[in-house]
Amino acid sequence: MLELKQLRRIYDRGDIASFIAVDDVNLNIMRGDFVSIIGRSGSGKSTMLNMIVGLLRPTSGKILINGADLWLMNDKNMAKIRNSKIGYIPQGFSLLSNLTILDNVRLPFYLANREGNGIERAMNLLEQMRIQNLAERYPAQLSGGEMRRVAIARALVNNPEILIADEPTGDLDEETTKEVMKLFSEIYCKGITILMVTHESDIISYGNRVCTMSSGKLIENNDHRAVSKG
């Protein structure tokens, strides 16, 4: 369902040499996959993810979603993909501080001009995330783990085909990391494809495929795939 072909991003840094952040990456993600990409900071993971969700234009290469080239789409169609096909969990805290938790979760619902108000769906997801009691609170009143659950709920509000998470446990403690990853497992079990980028080796075991990113190059770890499947 998601295919990367010869994906490359070069940062032009003016007077010093250009920097290749993503170097001819090829990846084919099938429906039902849980792909973890691990790599050190600066290895190009986030750059690659930003290109996949349509936030950053690749220097060259293709990103195919269900066979359609994402970067050949017009703004309207690309927005539609971001809104309904992809559930994106950005790195760090990405909630709007002036909206309640409920409104934050149903924000993608509102942006797509769908029928209804999305409250029921948003409340249902908050319940699944076990934070329904925080619906009327504001982000500033939540802990880091709670905010991450809200971001996951928001990513799922429009029933996406693929959930893309950028360092979803990056700044969480061990216990909260386990809780968040448990939620990812539950989502995966419901048949949603997941692409997750992390620098924490402890959590890659939750996926069925693991890739390593180093200096912009992506290498799939076939041993892990074998172990997971086995």
Partner: protein, 339 residues
């Protein structure tokens, strides 16, 4: 208009700025000047400065006129015939606190109000009009408390209004009157109106200039404010795009916000301006030192509507650059600050 020498400016102030003035000259001038060639009609007026009265917070100008010969005050009284104004009856200006059939008291003497003038924006608004006979009676009454300069012999007037024949030269006749009667000054209405018109044009030009300057400054300030605000909110806008908003939707959100802010700001400004304009109208009129007529409700509504449109237009112009800039930025650049 003929007045005692040195009182030309006082007459202007009485007519235009509601200033209470008393100056007198001999009544004989009425007959003498009426016989001069080129003079078609003359009408005397007698001015009395009131003491504090029940109707008013400040002394008002009592103006006695001759209804039979008057051709100046009558033009303001369209609904009553000034020739029917009887002894002890008065017509009050719009700012005199008295209504039809009220009584106003001056020097302890009651006078019956038979009509009230509409707003003129001039000194007439704070004046009380009566026949020359009533005015002379008021002077007699006032002499019970103090000697009045026009009291003895009843042969004084304050000003003489002259209507010229159509083929007469106002300047030449004015010079002739002043040379024949050196105790007088002559104010030519046309020259006075030209002077006021020039003053008003200068003020209007200044106001338009300031308005234009303020408008340009407003656009610049708003443009900078919108740019700074949208810069601060780049992350929020980037997040909207990330979650599936189109750039068109984002631009329409920004424009809607701008319209709400502009309309709210304009309404606040209009309400404040209306409050100041109506509550401080007296202060404005006095400070201006020129004939000042309060805008009617209709013209106020039109002015408010124009102000609203200009404000909204200004807001939209100021916002365009920010909207275009945000529309062009790559989403990743917008949300990068939290990565």
């Amino acid at each position: 208009m003929v007045v005692p020498r040195g009182y030309a400016l006082s007459l202007q102030n009485t007519l235009l700025r509601s200033e209470s003035n008393t100056f007198y000259m001999s009544e004989n001038l009425v007959e003498q000047i009426s016989k001069m060639p080129g003079v078609e009609q003359v009408s005397p007026q007698l001015y009395i400065g009131s003491l504090n009265a029940s109707c008013c917070t400040v002394p008002v100008q009592l103006i006695g006129f001759e209804p039979k010969t008057d051709f100046t005050i009558k033009s303001w009284m369209t609904n009553i015939s000034s020739s029917k104004l009887g002894f002890g009856e008065v017509v009050t200006g719009s700012r005199v606190n008295a209504t039809f059939e009220d009584q106003v008291w001056f020097f302890g003497q009651p006078l019956k109000v038979v009509a009230t003038l509409d707003d003129t924006g001039m000194g007439f608004d704070s004046s009380v009009f009566m026949t020359l006979e009533t005015a002379q009676h008021m002077i007699e009454i006032s002499e019970q408390t103090a000697v009045h300069p026009a009291g003895a012999g009843k042969d004084h007037i304050s000003a003489l209004f002259i209507k010229l024949a159509s083929d007469s030269d106002a300047s030449k006749i004015a010079k002739k009157i002043m040379s024949t009667y050196p105790q007088t000054d002559v104010v030519v209405l046309k020259e006075m109106m030209q002077h006021i018109s020039t003053q008003l044009n200068n003020i209007r030009g200044l106001i338009y200039g300031i308005q234009g300057l303020l408008w340009i400054v407003s656009i610049l300030i708003l443009a900078v404010t919108f740019t700074v605000t949208t810069n601060e909110r780049k992350r929020e806008f980037g997040l909207f795009l990330t979650l599936g908003a189109t750039r068109k939707k984002l631009e329409s959100l920004l424009m809607t916000e701008t319209l709400i802010i502009s309309v709210s700001g304009a309404l606040c400004g209009i309400l404040a301006a209306c409050f100041i304009m109506f509550e401080f109208r007296m202060l404005i009129a006095i400070s201006l030192g020129l004939p000042y007529l309060q805008p009617t409700l209709g013209s106020t509504i039109i002015l408010a509507a124009i102000s609203l449109l200009i404000s909204v237009f200004t807001g939209v112009i100021a916002c365009v650059y920010s909207v275009m800039r945000i529309g062009r930025l790559e989403t990743y650049i917008m949300i990068r600050e939290y990565e």
